[in-house]
């Protein structure tokens, strides 16, 4: 066994190594005010040039905004990097996963970060890229009861001015987490953009959700962008999901582009924008909320929105942005389900359909219901244990 002296010597040696490693190359220092001066030491000159060109009126306002990125994987990490390079004021990063070597087909993370929590690894890299951005990390699963309240509290109080965040970006990879984000955002009246890449890696989407004004994630079954692959030939045996850095990069780019447009108020922010990689098709549409949405807060927000005076839009809607009819029946199934084939999808617009319909539960036999009499929970737990 090593003596204390030997260990102390080893520590000194390692500290010197660490210092040497950290001194690689110049370090970027904090900058107080964004300048448009074009010098090679100004990291903001090309962004501020957007003002001079008349694209954005107020680029430096980017520093006042707080954006929450939920899910720091293939899409979320690239999203966070883009926002960091753009000079966003504060970033809140949520994820409970660790960096794995299996993630290396994606952008951003590096092999030496394997084993670190994604939020810690991301924060380190991002602070190096741009120390002006205030980065906060939250290493937990937002869908559990213990963490959900903390998630809601954070979203509603951790902006730069101690209030609600300006925008939340969903970069999670599963239905449950999206649903949890939707629940929180409807309750908090929080605007957010949902993003996703399909499990076959060749399509994706972004969707802006303004509670009460546009459809929420619970208003309809999940939307899918046509990938132009014959479902019957799609082999899912033996794998859950595929992923491509290209598709994820495209979706992250569309997500941050719309974030910038939304925050800095330039151009048009898409409500729903799809991406079909095999055909390079980008369908768009606008989705109204469902008056009979499952989420009670969605219905409350809809009432609030109806009661507000409307701003008359000067921009004429384009032909292909067909607003969906209020009485759209989300649950229409085009083909009966008796055949053992993937079900027919309800088409919303060309290239976008519902993943499944909610009507027609003939495939489940009606069975008895659990009794409602005065049973005691403790007795039931004991009974379950003793079987």
């Amino acid at each position: 066994m090593a003596t204390v002296e030997e260990l102390k010597a080893k520590i000194v040696q390692l500290e010197m190594k660490l210092e040497a490693a950290q001194q690689k190359g110049p370090k970027r220092h904090k900058i107080d005010v964004m300048s448009s001066e074009v010098v090679d030491s100004n990291p903001y000159s090309r962004l501020m040039a957007l003002k001079r060109m008349g694209i954005v009126d107020n680029y430096e306002n980017i520093r006042n905004f707080t954006v929450a990125v939920v899910g720091v994987g293939g899409v979320g990490s690239v999203t966070a990097e883009m926002l960091t390079r753009c000079g966003i004021g504060r970033l809140l990063l949520f994820d409970y996963d660790k960096v794995e070597l299996a993630n290396m087909n994606r952008l951003f993370f590096q092999p030496h970060q394997a084993g670190l929590s994604k939020v810690a690894a991301a924060a380190e890299t991002l602070r190096d890229i741009n120390p002006d951005v205030d980065i906060k990390t939250y290493n937990y699963n937002i869908t559990t009861v213990d963490n959900f309240q903390n998630f809601m509290d954070t979203i509603s109080t951790e902006s730069l001015i101690g209030g609600q965040v300006d925008l939340l970006l969903s970069c999670v990879d599963n239905f449950e987490a999206r649903y949890a984000i939707n629940t929180a955002c409807n309750e908090l009246n929080q605007c957010w953009i949902e993003s996703g890449v399909s499990e076959n890696a060749v399509s994706g989407h972004i969707q802006l959700v303004i509670p009460g004004e546009t459809a929420c994630f619970a208003c309809a079954p999940p939307l899918v962008v046509a990938s132009n692959i014959d479902e019957k030939t799609l082999k899912k045996d033996g794998v859950c999901a595929a992923s491509l850095p290209t598709t994820m990069g495209v979706i992250a780019g569309l997500l941050v582009q719309n974030t910038l447009k939304y925050l800095l108020k330039f151009g048009q922010t898409s409500n729903y924008l799809g991406y079909s990689a095999l055909t390079d098709f980008f369908p768009t549409m606008r989705l109204k909320p469902n008056p009979v949405c499952n989420d009670n807060y969605c219905k409350i927000r809809q009432k609030e929105f109806e009661a507000r005076p409307k701003v008359i839009e000067l921009v004429k809607e384009e032909e292909d942005e067909k607003p969906l009819h209020e009485d759209n029946d989300w649950g229409i199934s085009l083909v009966d389900e008796s055949a053992n084939e993937p079900e027919a999808k309800t088409q919303m617009v060309d290239g976008i359909s519902l993943e499944y319909s909610l009507s027609n539960d003939n495939d489940v036999p009606k069975s008895s219901k659990t009794a409602q009499d005065d049973v005691n929970l403790e007795d039931l737990i004991a009974q379950m244990k003793s079987i």
Binding site: N294, Y356, S359, N360, V364, S367, K369
Partner: protein, 170 residues
């Protein structure tokens, strides 16, 4: 969508009635009672059919569940630990059932050993909110997953039979 034997299994599992999740305080207690009633009946059915294949229990809040499941292959009994949390969005979204010890051994899993469900599961669950509960997630989710994946894991040598598994299981 649902084959005959699953249909038969389903017809004997009591459906639930209370649409409440773990954030709903008193209503959640009601839901939890229904969950236990449904699970007890399902396990009893399984025992009667000589197909006893899992046990589950929860913390007292009913938010965290754990237990064991068994799978018999070539007369040998393989046993796995089960765990999952009830998400705040339950029962609108199904729980993500995990078998942590199989994490990394099959591509039909997400991180942390969460099983990858068939494309049919999610629509079926969505159409049956709030009537489906944990027993349905077991019958439609974990049961079929084990039936497909465990023989494959054994054949590939990814898992091997251990003597003590039988002792624990009995």
């Amino acid at each position: 969508m649902v084959d005959e034997s699953t249909r038969k299994t389903l017809s004997n599992i009591p459906l639930l009635q209370t649409k409440a999740g773990p954030r709903d305080k008193d209503l959640w207690i009601q839901r939890l009672k229904e969950e236990y009633q449904s699970l007890i009946k399902y396990v009893q059915n399984n025992k009667e059919a000589d197909n006893d294949w899992f046990r589950l229990e929860s913390n007292k809040e009913g938010t965290r569940w754990f237990g064991k499941c068994w799978f018999i292959h070539n007369l040998l009994k393989y046993e796995f630990d089960i765990e999952f949390d009830i998400p705040v969005t339950y029962p609108h979204t199904a729980p993500e059932i995990a078998l942590p010890e199989l994490d990394g051994k099959t591509a039909k899993m997400y991180r942390g050993g969460k099983i990858c469900l068939s494309d049919h599961f999610k629509p079926l669950w969505a159409r049956n909110v709030p009537r489906f509960g944990l027993s349905h997630a077991m019958a439609l989710g974990l049961g079929p997953w084990l039936a497909v994946e465990v023989p494959d894991l054994i054949n590939r040598g990814a898992i091997t039979y251990r003597e003590k598994q039988v002792e624990n299981a009995s």
